[in-house]
């Protein structure tokens, strides 16, 4: 089984972000830690589990802008065999369709059976790349999966869609996007961390595709914080009575 796992390296959302002087984006400063997002970690874990069950190899593919190698090595320490990294800041900040086209250019020649990516990348939360890649490559996609079973014949995956559980079956090749619940990503062990340093990482500076910037970010700001809350103290009866009165007369919800 040949599995490709897409890795986007993104600022940790725990970062205390600052806004740049132009007011258009976050400030790129040294306090930002770049990590593999949680959904991509589920993807990496799923890819490795497939290899462990059915044999084969796992290749990671990343479009980046210079902050990626450490995270790719971490994925390698989890069990990814080799990686491809396109380092091109212009491409990384282009519109999501250009990125999808570049990823297609890199991934298609690999002839993978399964391509796994995250349900979304936590920096821009586009939820775009997986299904877009499916359309570009004209192969099926099952997105936001929380369970997966892979055999030589194909995949069975389930997901939670608006309160229903949907179970899909697909043959290869197929694209999967990983949601929470799919698995528990493993922690890399020391021998694997050492080994990962020597695994092949193919670095390029272009995918040879057109870079289109049809979306311009003109402003970045901190979300307005909700006005200060109102605390109610007293006996349980007083609390309940004040709340119920508020909800009936003021908010008109009850």
């Amino acid at each position: 089984m040949k599995v490709v796992t897409l890795l986007k390296v993104t600022p940790d959302t725990e970062t205390k972000f600052q806004i740049n002087s132009a007011g258009t984006d976050i400030a790129e400063d040294s306090s930002i830690e770049y990590i593999i997002g949680p959904y991509d970690e589920y993807g990496v874990e799923a890819a490795i589990q497939i290899k462990e069950k059915l044999g084969g190899e796992v290749i990671s593919v990343t479009i980046g802008s210079g902050n990626e190698e450490k995270s790719i090595r971490k994925a390698m320490a989890m069990g990814v065999d080799s990686g491809i990294l396109i380092n091109n800041a212009d491409l990384k900040s282009s519109d999501p369709l250009s990125i999808a086209k570049a990823i297609k250019e890199v991934v298609e020649p690999l002839n993978a059976d399964i391509i796994i990516c995250g349900k979304l990348a936590t920096d821009t939360s586009d939820s775009f790349i997986g299904p877009a890649l499916a359309a570009l490559m004209n192969i099926p996609v099952i997105s936001e999966i929380s369970s997966l079973e892979v055999t030589e014949e194909g995949v069975v995956a389930t997901r939670d869609a608006a309160g229903r559980k949907e179970r899909f079956e697909s043959k290869f090749p197929v694209i999967l996007t990983a949601d929470k619940g799919l698995n528990e990503p493993r922690y890399p062990k020391l021998p694997m961390i050492m080994k990962a340093k020597k695994k092949p990482l193919d670095k390029k500076d272009t995918a040879g595709t057109e870079i289109r910037k049809n979306v311009t970010q003109v402003k970045a700001e901190f979300p307005a914080t909700k006005s200060a809350g109102k605390k109610i103290t007293g006996t349980p009866d007083e609390l309940v009575s004040e709340l119920v009165t508020g909800l009936t007369t003021k908010e008109k919800i009850l």
Binding site: T15, T122, D123, T124, A162, E166, E221, K226, V244
Partner: protein, 314 residues
């Protein structure tokens, strides 16, 4: 400017996020049409008419969701539109990129505000940053669910235009094999006007009955913090927050939830927030409109009774 909106429905009923998407479409321009695919498409067209659409392009007789087929049908119906709008649902997020590729359009995902027909606000980095983006060319939008208002119901009717669907090579590669109805008959989190959520303060799984009983009285959906999802007390589908669901109901009641930033990321846009917590310093109180400082085991039973009584007298 022509605007298309995907009227996601299930068994003849529009999902709430699709109604919100209609509202977004109408706020961008007046030349709006809907695209419906359903086994009971007449009911969907009727509902869309009442929500103010005058034209619905409809594909009838499709009994099961198929991502590639849906994408094709919507592309065929929407390809001449300037803006195509999708609800922020699993289906919407799965189909919209495929339609965007076919149209070679510009994607703008997960918008939280319309500034003008080509300028939108988005939420980035786990809702820590809000960004304003300007898009060029034809645009394919997805709209974050739970943020925008549903248009008011009127007595309009929509004209129906037939669209056809054919099976294509490759469709057989994948199928939706089974739909398991949700285990409860409760409203779904992202559809709900009222949500009652429980956190670690409830202590044990069996105490969650307090949350469920209040939800039942209020006709509400049930949510949970990550702490109790990770503890295996509730399914992940109920998790609210950065790595769970994003919700913005009319009323959100957080019971025994501290209000960590990742939880707030998923619910702080709710219209009215109620918190019940015994720790006066809990961060949830910073955003609660009604912050009840007290022991949930004392407050909840009384609250359930009071809601019962209030409903009777209403």
């Amino acid at each position: 400017m022509s605007i298309a909106v995907f009227l996601e429905s299930y068994n003849g009923k529009l999902v709430k996020a699709a109604k919100e998407a209609i509202g977004v479409a109408k706020s961008i321009g007046s030349d709006v049409f809907g695209i419906a695919i359903d086994n009971n498409v007449d009911a969907v067209i009727e509902e869309a008419g009442k929500l103010g659409l005058s034209t619905v392009k409809a594909a009838a007789g499709i009994t099961i969701y198929h991502p590639a087929m849906y994408s094709r049908i919507i592309f065929n119906a929407a390809k001449d539109a300037d803006v195509v709008i999708f609800p922020g649902t699993v289906w919407g997020r799965e189909i919209s990129p495929q339609v965007c590729v076919k149209m070679d359009a510009t994607p703008v995902s997960d918008i939280i505000k319309v500034v003008d027909a080509s300028t939108f606000k988005r939420s980035l980095h786990g809702n820590k940053i809000h960004a304003t983006v300007k898009a060029e060319g034809k645009i394919v939008l997805t709209v974050r669910a739970g943020i925008f208002d549903v248009p008011e119901l009127g007595d309009g009717t929509a004209n129906r235009e037939e669209i056809t669907s054919e099976v294509a090579e490759g469709d057989a590669m994948i199928k939706l094999a089974e739909i398991l109805a949700s285990s409860s008959d409760r409203v779904e989190l992202t559809e709900a006007d009222i949500i009652v959520s429980g956190g670690r303060g409830i202590g044990e799984a069996t105490n969650f009955k307090l949350i469920e009983d209040l939800a039942t009285e209020l006709g509400a959906a049930v949510g949970a913090s990550r702490a109790i999802v990770d503890a295996g007390m509730r399914p992940h589908s109920e998790q609210v927050g950065q790595t769970g669901k994003f919700v913005a109901p009319k009323l959100y009641i957080a019971v025994g939830i501290s209000g960590a930033i990742q939880h707030l990321a998923g619910m702080s846009s709710s219209e009215t927030i109620v918190a019940i917590n015994k720790d006066e310093e809990a961060p949830i109180f910073k955003i609660a409109d009604y912050g009840l400082v007290g022991d949930l085991f004392e407050v909840m039973p009384k609250l359930i009774e009071a809601v019962k009584a209030a409903k009777k007298s209403a």
